[in-house]
């Protein structure tokens, strides 16, 4: 019996962690290529609105997920043109992207406020899903959760086991030298930015199609920023992104349960917990590292303009 309660809690933790995993694993690839895209929140919220709109119009959650990813991709393409193509400041462009994404999400989502959908279907394998204790956790999630975990494994494999992954990391560490070697710095960076955008859009679509199956303005509530912090927290390592996201998912779920249980603490303090936890995590990380040099890709955030 108590095992089932543990399972229930773990299932909700995994659900809360999934959007963070999706957005953060995409941003990790972008940052490994040397680009800092602060527009994750904007791409995510636009993905949430577009995903919900597409799913409602077509009646298909799968197409909705694609729509969300496409919306993130679209904004990311704009970011790529600005920062990779036109050598614009990455921090400022990312902020612009967030503001633009919030505005666009309001425009796209305006007609869908208050509508509800059935949440994305969960896997059901007769026999397996009914296993006590672990059945629902392992065999009863929705497709987004499995996609997120597969993406983490895929990105890990790509970055550390393929030549293209090595190229991408090298470009993130020194764009001048890799350019001199004849590697296509701008092309790789642009593709990485697109990948990150699609992941952020998918993360948004998860929120509006599976996590809370409705669209509400600004429903991402800073998750995009937490995903950015998560990449730093994970020291730019894919597997640590998943671990960190589960930690934050746990904090979110704990906060919700504490609020429901009525601990006598003000609700606002509990709502602030994930943001305070993010700051605390960043502080602890840097305390642990003790100024031993930054683990960030060396070219992160630096403008690259090849000349003849």
């Amino acid at each position: 019996m108590s095992l089932d309660i543990v399972q229930m809690v773990l299932v909700t933790v995994l659900a809360a962690a999934t959007p963070l995993i999706l957005a953060a694993i995409g941003e990790l690839v972008v940052e490994r290529a040397g680009v800092l895209n602060l527009g994750v929140e904007g791409m995510m919220v636009f993905g949430a609105a577009a995903g919900f709109a597409v799913a409602t119009e077509t009646g298909s959650t799968g197409l909705g997920a694609l729509g969300g990813a496409g919306a993130g991709l679209l904004l990311a393409a704009l970011f790529g043109v600005l920062t990779v193509g036109l050598a614009a400041n990455q921090v400022a462009s990312g902020l612009a992207l967030t503001i633009l994404g919030l505005g666009l999400s309001g425009l796209v989502g305006a007609g869908y406020v208050g509508m509800k959908r059935d949440p994305a279907p969960h896997l059901h394998l007769p026999g397996f899903t009914d296993l006590p204790g672990i059945g629902r956790l392992l065999f009863g999630q929705d497709a987004f959760v499995y996609a997120a975990l597969l993406l983490v494994a895929g990105v890990w494999w790509f970055l550390w086991r393929t030549r293209a992954g090595l190229t991408l990391r090298a470009i993130g560490d020194d764009h001048t030298a890799t350019h001199a070697l004849g590697l296509k710095v701008r092309k790789v960076r642009f593709l990485a930015v697109l990948f990150g955008g699609a992941c952020a859009g998918l993360a948004g679509a998860y929120l509006s199609l599976a996590y809370t199956p409705f669209w509400a303005p600004a429903m991402t509530a800073g998750r995009g920023w937490i995903a950015l912090a998560l990449v730093v927290f994970a020291s730019w390592q894919p597997l640590r992104v998943a671990a960190g996201a589960l930690l934050f998912g746990g904090a979110t779920v704990l906060q919700l349960h504490a609020q429901a249980a009525g601990l006598g603490l003000p609700g606002q303090l509990l709502s602030a917990a994930p943001y305070l936890a993010t700051i605390l995590a960043l502080v602890l990380l840097s305390l642990g590292r003790r100024r031993g040099g930054s683990l960030a890709p060396a070219a992160l955030g630096r403008v690259f303009a090849p000349s003849r």
Binding site: V91, A96, I99, L100, G103, L104, A180, I279, P306, S307
Partner: protein, 363 residues
């Protein structure tokens, strides 16, 4: 096809002006297409957004009232951004300032005796709270190397929740029928109106004063030179003996103080009490204003007027043309994207090369 960017030997002042103007034109053009797609004649929308707010006294005052906090916050942010430091939590510092200053007003409510000190104390408390709140990300960066981008932003959510808690709890008006708001401030705790019966209040003058002061500091003092030097060449500045830590703390103090002052001016001016929402996103919009104004105080003033104009126009368009308010935000975001993109013209010769031959690196 390939795009080559060749660094310009020196910046042309004409291009510095032309690039944002071109970006603005492009944004208006794209906005016009979007408006047409929503079924509204673009020329009518143009009149509502950019001309109508300028045609009446009350809406002109609204533009000034909106532009003042934007320009004040953006001027403060310009110090940070010029020094390549990224305080993006001005919204939180604004809320902290409004909350602390408003707290003074609530505490002094019903005070028997001389009341001349209340308003100055509020302004001081608001500014100091903004500075103190900005010190958190600044100190974390200086002492521990924690990214100021993420911490300053996380603190925005914390400040908003703190304000929400205060107006629903300790600072709630006991006679307020359980509405989440403080008592209405007494006259001694309100910024005076500049003209009887109008909406323009003294906060606009305070904002202008702050901007002029900041412009002088940036242009005429050693500290201002330091900020500009670090932004232009961090390595050279370090060789010149400028301290990173001191500079970081200073520019964060300036931007936090400006945001806090803007917050308390809005609370003591237009709003007149504390409530859960005391900012329509001024802290974030100010980021657009700072870049649109090319991080220079005169440019920022102009940019703040343009953004305030589109915001007031957007409210008018919502009422008159049934255009969604989010269109304005999308337009502002797009405008910022285009301004940043157009910047390429001022820094590089752009050459489009047909075909895709590889390039060689110049050292």
């Amino acid at each position: 096809m390939r795009l080559d960017l060749l660094p310009r030997a020196r910046r042309s002042p004409w291009l510095d002006l032309l690039a944002p103007a071109l970006a603005f034109l492009a944004a208006v053009l794209i906005g016009g297409i979007a408006v047409a797609a929503l079924g509204v004649p673009p020329e009518q929308a143009f009149l509502t957004y950019f001309v109508a707010p300028l045609s009446e006294v009350w809406s002109l005052q609204e533009v000034a009232l909106k532009a003042a906090p934007l320009a004040l916050i953006a001027t403060g942010l310009a110090f940070c951004y010029r020094a390549n430091l990224w305080n993006i939590g001005a919204e939180g510092q604004y809320v902290a300032g409004g909350l602390a200053g408003g707290w003074v007003a609530v505490a002094a409510h019903g005070f028997q005796g001389p009341t001349f000190w209340i308003l100055p104390a509020m302004l001081l408390a608001g500014t100091c709270a903004g500075i103190a709140y900005a010190m958190i990300p600044a100190l974390l960066r200086v002492r521990l190397g924690v990214s100021e981008i993420l911490t300053s932003l996380m603190l925005v959510y914390v400040a908003q929740l703190l304000l929400d808690y205060m107006v629903r709890g300790p600072l709630r008006d006991p006679q307020g029928y359980n509405f989440p708001q403080s008592v209405g401030f007494e006259d001694a705790a309100r910024l005076p109106l500049l003209m009887e019966g109008e909406s323009l209040h003294a906060g606009v003058l305070i904002g202008l004063l702050g901007i002029v002061l900041a412009a002088l500091v940036l242009a005429r003092t050693l500290f201002g030179f330091e900020v500009r030097a670090v932004g232009a060449s961090p390595r050279a500045a370090r060789f010149a003996g400028f301290s990173d830590a001191r500079l970081t703390l200073s520019v964060f103090a300036i931007s936090g103080g400006a945001a806090g002052l803007a917050g308390i001016c809005e609370v003591a001016g237009r709003i007149g009490q504390l409530q859960p929402e005391i900012s329509p996103g001024y802290g974030f919009t100010a980021i657009i204003v700072a870049f649109l104004g090319r991080l220079s105080p005169p440019g920022i003033l102009l940019a703040a007027l343009v953004i305030a104009l589109t915001t007031i126009g957007g409210e008018g368009a919502q009422i008159d043309l049934k255009l969604p308010l989010d269109l304005t935000r999308a337009f502002q975001g797009l405008l910022l994207c285009l301004v940043l993109g157009a910047d390429v013209l001022t820094r590089y010769h752009v050459r489009i090369v047909p075909g895709g031959a590889s390039t060689r690196v110049t050292p």
